[in-house]
């Protein structure tokens, strides 16, 4: 169909029919081969080395917004496949998605989700509610279930600023598309257990944007400290974690200088006290 379209130059009738507001549904109808739908994947053999795995992501809300941070490492077995990977995706003005799990599929999913949100917004003249975005992502993960059963597990973390409520929110997912709203903070990926411990101790309800970013870096440092698949701040190569902030003013990626200075604070602190800042006993 798309070939015929490219030939004549005229927009085919499927494009001109009112149809759906969903880009995924539309593409499924006119050109399903372009979707990352790998239903016919051979079911034998191990998928372990087909795509690198991506790791620790942390997110937390602060008064007026939400912070999302991710390390940069991708691993393939015990090999570091990539040192400066970007696992955070700005999906629209007020939301972002981070991925853990099979990198190749996760990146495609994030890209498709981004188009899905924009497409809806352009068609309808208004963006989806944050709740609507969260539900849409759940459906998209569920359609990936066959792949997950074969070992290509992708778990995203969705964060956004809810313009109706005036606050940041965090949604986590399981591989079946189960959707869970997280309060205050959350972490996903292989190093998440360690990151969550750090978040639990350092999180406060009244963090500023910068302090929230600092807490996120502390948590990522702890994750990298104990999980070999999570990369810590690489001072020599100047590769630092990525930090996205979403507030009333929209999505902003912290500049590398900002993150660099925060990361240096964290690393300097660790040279004094390798296990990091402590929380009061009572």
């Amino acid at each position: 169909m798309s070939e015929a379209f490219m030939g004549s130059g005229r927009l085919p009738s499927a494009f001109m029919s009112p149809g759906t507001s969903s880009f995924v549904d539309f593409l499924n109808q006119v050109s399903p081969d372009r979707l990352p739908n790998l239903a016919d994947l051979p079911s034998n053999g191990s998928p372990a080395h087909l795509t690198p795995e991506a790791t620790t992501i942390v997110a937390m809300v602060f008064p007026g917004g939400v912070v999302l941070a991710g390390d940069r490492r991708a691993t393939s077995g015990n090999v570091i496949a990539n040192r400066d990977m970007d696992k955070l995706f700005r999906t629209d003005e007020f939301s972002a998605v981070a991925i853990a799990g099979a990198a190749g599929i996760g990146i495609e999913l994030a890209r498709l989700f981004q188009v899905e949100l924009e497409h809806y917004e352009k068609r309808e003249g208004r963006p989806l509610s944050l709740e609507g975005k969260a539900n849409r992502l759940a459906t998209m993960i569920r359609s990936n279930l066959g792949l997950a059963m074969q070992g290509f597990v992708v778990v995203p973390l969705l964060v956004g600023y809810d313009t109706a409520r005036g606050e940041g929110r965090i949604f986590s997912y399981d591989p079946v598309g189960g959707r869970y709203e997280e309060h205050r903070y959350h972490s996903i990926g292989s190093g998440s257990t360690y990151a969550r411990g750090a978040l639990k101790k350092l999180y406060r309800d009244d963090l500023t944007e910068t302090d929230a970013a600092l807490v996120a870096l502390q948590a990522l440092y702890d994750a990298a400290d104990d999980d070999s698949a999570t990369g810590g701040p690489d001072l020599h190569r100047k590769i630092y974690p990525l930090v996205d902030v979403i507030t009333e003013d929209g999505h902003r990626r912290m500049s590398s200088e900002e993150v660099e200075s925060l990361a240096e604070t964290v690393v300097a602190g660790r040279s004094e006290r390798p296990d990091g800042p402590t929380a009061p006993v009572r």
Binding site: L11, H119, G125
Partner: protein, 249 residues
């Protein structure tokens, strides 16, 4: 009962029909300013848009029959999103969309009895004013590559003449808006006061990250119109203190 009508006559009748349909509606104008491309439409509705985003750098403006141009807008959004998803975001261009629209309108015009009563503009903001692209596509599928400013719909000639009086290259956004409103006020030969509530205004802003399209509405539009009016009342070419004072026009 067959009878003969020459192809010329058929085409002429169709074109007259489409022109009349378009002339019944109110106008829209598109003009370049120092920071991008400005779209202004005379539109009473706050929800039924004549101006819309197609893709990151590309916007759409139309006059004529709503259901027909809405159909084209929708197809353009789908086309752009599909192309951008298949290849890369930077591969979606205004020229490509203009061509798709031209082919579509051309085919409708020749193949069906009723031509579409629409005229549309596809604008793409570039990295510099020289690389901005503005394409006007008419009901029969012809495409014109425009520069500086253009008007379409209603009494486009009068509006164009009014725009020509005041248009200056590299004007600030406020100045450009003032020129646009001045132009639209000349529709049907009458001089009307255009309020914020009857204007649909949007820009493709060169300096904006990610998606360049932005609507200007509500209080911000009211404030900009007040500034623009104040600037006119001063009449003297001294630049007003509205932040657009650095333009060396």
């Amino acid at each position: 009962m067959p009878f003969y009508v020459s192809p010329e006559q058929i085409m002429k009748d169709k074109a007259d029909y489409a022109r009349k349909g378009i002339a019944r509606g109110r106008s829209a104008v598109v003009l370049q300013y120092d920071g991008g491309i400005l779209f202004v439409a005379d539109n009473m509705s706050r929800t039924l848009h004549k101006i819309s985003e197609l893709y990151d750098r590309v916007a759409f403006a139309a006059v004529g029959r709503y259901n027909e141009f809405e159909n084209l807008r929708l197809a353009g959004v789908r086309f752009a999103d599909m192309h951008g998803y298949t290849y890369d975001r930077s591969d979606v261009t205004g020229q490509m969309l203009a061509n798709a629209y031209a082919q579509t309108l051309g085919a409708v015009f020749t193949e069906s009895n009723k031509p579409w009563e629409v005229e549309i503009v596809v604008g793409e903001v570039g990295d510099t004013p020289d690389t901005d692209q503005i394409y006007r596509i008419t009901f029969d599928g012809s495409v014109v590559d425009e520069h500086d400013f253009l008007a379409m719909g209603g009494s486009a000639e009068r509006v164009t003449a009014a725009l020509r009086e005041r248009y200056v290259k590299n004007a600030s956004l406020t100045e450009a808006l003032q020129v646009a409103v001045h132009g639209l006020a000349h529709e049907n030969g009458e001089r009307r006061e255009l309020q914020a509530t009857s204007l649909e205004v949007a820009v493709l802003e060169r300096s904006r990250p990610h998606r360049k399209f932005r609507r200007i509405q509500g209080d911000r539009l009211v404030r900009m119109l007040e500034q623009a009016n104040a600037a006119v009342e001063e009449t003297a070419p001294q630049t007003p203190d509205d932040g657009g004072a650095t333009d060396g026009v």
